[in-house]
C-alpha cells in the first residue's frame, strides 16, 4: 500500500502547482521565465512543497504525541503546544525578533510543562483536559495582545492565526524541509523505541529504554518543527489528528509501520487542503488553509470521540 501512496504523492505534488485561482498549463513548466512559468516555479511549487513538508511535520507530530501520551486524541494542537508557538510567534512580530526562536521557546516551555505534569496526572484524559486549559490560556493571552495592538496589527495577526501557506515560502522552505526530513528520519530510526513507548513507560523502561530522555528528545523535535511551521504559516490544526488515524484505519499495524505512510498522508492532506483553499479564492482573497483543515478535521474528531465512546 505504501508504494501506491508514494505514487499518489508524486502525482499530487506534480499536479497541485497547476491548480489555483489562475489555472496553469503545461507551458508553465517548460518556460520558467514567462509569467505563468514564474508563478509555477517561484510561487506555486515552493508553496506546494511547504504544504507537503508542513503536513509531514504535523502528521508525525500527531503520531509521536499519541504514542508518547498513549491517547488517540493527543496532538501538538490539542495539547496546546501549537497555541504556545502561535503566541510566541505573535509576540515576535511585536518585539521584532525571530519568530522561529520565540515560537520554539514557547512550544518547548509548553512541552516541558506537559511532561512535568504528566508524571503527576493519573490519566491521559486529565492530561488532555490540561492541554485544552493551556490552549485556552494561550488563546486568552493572544486576545490580550490583540487588545493593545493597532488595527493594522490586529488584521495581520488575525489572518496569521487562521493559518495560511500563502506567505512567501521561499525563505522558510529549506527550514521546514529540513525539519520534516529530521522528524521523519529520527522517527523511523527510533521506530522500535516508539513501539516500546506504546506499551507504556514502565514496560519500556523494563526493556532498557531511557523513557524520559527519549520522550523529551522526541517532543522537543516535534515542537521545533511545529514552531518553525507556525512562524511561517500560522497555526494549522487537525492534520496531526486526521493523518495518523486515517493511516491506522487503513494499515491496522503498530506505530513502527505507520511512520512513512503517516508522513505521506499528512503531506498529501495539507497539499490537498491548500489546493482547495487556492481554488476557493474570491474577491476577499484566499480562504486560509487552516479553515479547510478545521472543517474537515472537526467531523473526524467527533467521529473519533464517538468511536472511543
Amino acid at each position: 500500500m505504501t508504494k501506491w501512496l508514494v505514487v499518489l504523492t508524486l502525482l499530487v505534488l506534480l499536479l497541485a502547482p497547476f491548480v489555483g485561482g489562475m489555472p496553469l498549463g503545461i507551458e508553465a513548466l517548460l518556460e520558467p521565465t514567462s509569467l505563468e512559468g514564474r508563478i509555477f516555479w517561484e510561487l506555486r511549487l515552493p508553496r506546494v512543497m511547504l504544504g507537503f513538508f508542513g503536513g509531514v511535520i504535523l502528521a508525525l507530530g500527531g503520531l509521536i504525541f499519541q504514542t508518547i501520551f498513549r491517547n488517540a486524541l493527543m496532538t501538538p494542537y490539542t495539547l496546546g503546544v501549537s497555541g504556545a508557538a502561535t503566541l510566541g510567534c505573535a509576540l515576535s512580530i511585536a518585539l521584532g525578533v525571530s519568530g522561529v526562536l520565540m515560537g520554539f521557546t514557547s512550544a518547548a516551555f509548553s512541552v516541558l510543562l506537559l511532561l512535568l505534569l504528566s508524571t503527576k496526572l493519573r490519566s491521559a484524559e486529565a492530561l488532555l483536559l490540561l492541554g485544552i486549559a493551556l490552549s485556552l490560556f494561550y488563546g486568552a493571552a493572544l486576545m490580550l495582545f490583540y487588545h493593545f495592538a493597532d488595527a493594522l496589527q490586529v488584521y495581520s495577526l488575525l489572518r496569521y492565526t487562521m493559518g495560511s501557506l500563502s506567505a512567501d515560502a521561499s525563505g522558510g522552505l529549506w527550514l521546514i524541509g529540513a525539519c520534516a526530513a529530521a522528524t521523519l528520519l529520527i522517527a523511523y530510526a527510533w521506530r522500535h523505541r516508539l513501539a516500546l513507548l506504546s506499551l507504556g513507560a514502565q514496560s519500556a523502561a523494563l526493556r532498557g529504554l531511557h523513557v524520559k530522555r527519549t520522550e523529551t528528545a522526541l517532543l522537543l523535535l516535534v515542537s521545533f518543527g511545529v514552531a518553525a511551521l507556525i512562524s511561517i504559516a500560522g497555526p494549522i490544526g487537525f492534520v496531526g489528528l486526521v493523518a495518523p488515524h486515517l493511516v491506522r484505519l487503513l494499515y491496522r499495524r503498530s506505530v513502527a509501520h505507520l511512520i512513512v505512510p503517516t508522513a505521506l498522508v499528512g503531506g498529501l492532506f495539507l497539499v490537498a487542503a491548500d489546493t482547495l483553499a487556492r481554488v476557493l479564492s474570491g474577491s476577499s482573497g484566499e480562504v486560509s488553509v487552516g479553515i479547510i483543515t478545521a472543517l474537515v478535521g472537526t467531523p473526524f474528531f467527533i467521529f473519533l470521540v464517538m468511536r472511543r465512546a
Binding site: 513501539a195 506499551l199 514496560s203 526493556r207 532498557g208 494499515y251 503498530s254
Partner: protein, 247 residues
C-alpha cells in the same frame, strides 16, 4: 547472587516495608496479603522504584547498573498484558524483549528475528505470531509475555501473579513452562495461590506487616499454625475436593 541489605521501601513518603535483609536463592516464591508490597519489591529489583539500603547484584551495587544492564539482569512479567496499541503483532511484541541487546539505530537484525521465531516455537505460540495483541486471550497473553521475557535473555525472570487470570488448563500449561525455564534462569514468582506455591516446592518468602519471613524449606510454612500466624485467618490443610494437578 542477589543480596538485600537493610532494604526499606517508602512510596510517596508512606512506609511500606523493611528493613529487609536476605540472600535471594536461585528460585524464590513470594507470597503475602494484598498491599504488603510484593509487586513493589519486584519492581524495586527491576529498577522501577527507589529504595533505601543496598541491593547487591553479584559484586555490584544494583543502583549502579545502567537501564540496559538491569534489563539484562531482570525481566518482569506483569499479571496482565497492558497494551495501548491494539495493532501490535505478537512477533513484534516478543522481538521488543531484545531491545537492550539491539543496535541503537539499526534496531533488530536477522539473527534477533530468527531468535524471536525460535523462542515463539519453544513457547508453543508460533501460530500466534501475526495476531494483534488486542485479540489474545488471557492464557495466550501470559505465554506471549513469558516469551518476551525469554527474548530479553535476563538472568532472573520475575513473574507477578502469573496464574491470576488463567483457567486451570492454562495455569497447568504455565507451570510446565515455568519448570522448564528454571533450568536456564533464576526465578522470582509472586502469587496468592498457596496451592501453586506449595506444588512448585521452591523456597518461599512471606511479606506482611513490613516484615519478610523466609522459609528455605517450604514445608515449614505450609502448616495450619504457621499460615494462621502469618495471614491471621484459620487454615485447614486437607486435600480439596477439586484441585488442579500440576504434574
Amino acid at each position: 547472587m542477589i543480596r538485600l541489605e537493610e532494604v526499606v521501601c517508602r512510596l510517596g513518603g508512606r512506609y511500606l516495608f523493611g528493613p529487609i535483609s536476605l540472600d535471594l536463592p536461585p528460585h524464590l516464591i513470594l507470597i503475602g496479603p494484598n498491599g504488603a508490597g510484593k509487586s513493589t519489591l519486584a519492581k524495586m529489583l527491576c529498577g522501577l522504584l527507589p529504595y533505601e539500603g543496598r541491593i547487591a547484584y553479584g559484586d555490584q551495587n544494583l543502583s549502579a547498573l545502567s537501564l540496559r544492564e538491569r534489563a539484562e539482569a531482570f525481566a518482569y512479567v506483569p499479571p496482565k498484558l497492558e497494551q495501548f496499541d491494539d495493532h501490535l503483532r505478537v512477533r513484534e511484541f516478543v522481538l521488543l524483549g531484545a531491545f537492550a541487546q539491539a543496535d541503537r539505530w539499526r534496531g533488530f537484525d536477522a539473527t534477533e528475528t530468527a531468535h524471536a521465531d525460535e523462542v515463539m516455537r519453544q513457547s508453543q505460540i508460533a501460530h500466534l505470531a501475526d495476531r494483534p495483541l488486542g485479540t489474545l486471550s488471557s492464557g495466550e497473553a501470559q505465554l506471549v509475555m513469558t516469551a518476551q521475557a525469554m527474548m530479553q535473555r535476563s538472568r532472573m525472570l520475575v513473574f507477578d501473579e502469573p496464574t491470576a487470570h488463567l483457567d486451570p488448563l492454562h495455569a497447568r500449561q504455565f507451570v510446565h513452562r515455568f519448570a522448564s525455564l528454571k533450568a536456564a534462569h533464576h526465578t522470582l514468582l509472586i502469587t496468592h495461590d498457596l496451592q501453586l506455591a506449595r506444588a512448585l516446592g521452591d523456597p518461599v518468602a512471606f511479606l506482611g506487616d513490613g516484615v519478610l519471613h523466609y522459609f528455605e524449606a517450604p514445608e515449614r510454612l505450609f502448616t495450619p499454625q504457621m499460615l494462621e500466624r502469618l495471614y491471621g485467618v484459620r487454615f485447614e490443610l486437607t486435600p480439596l475436593h477439586v484441585s488442579i494437578r500440576y504434574d
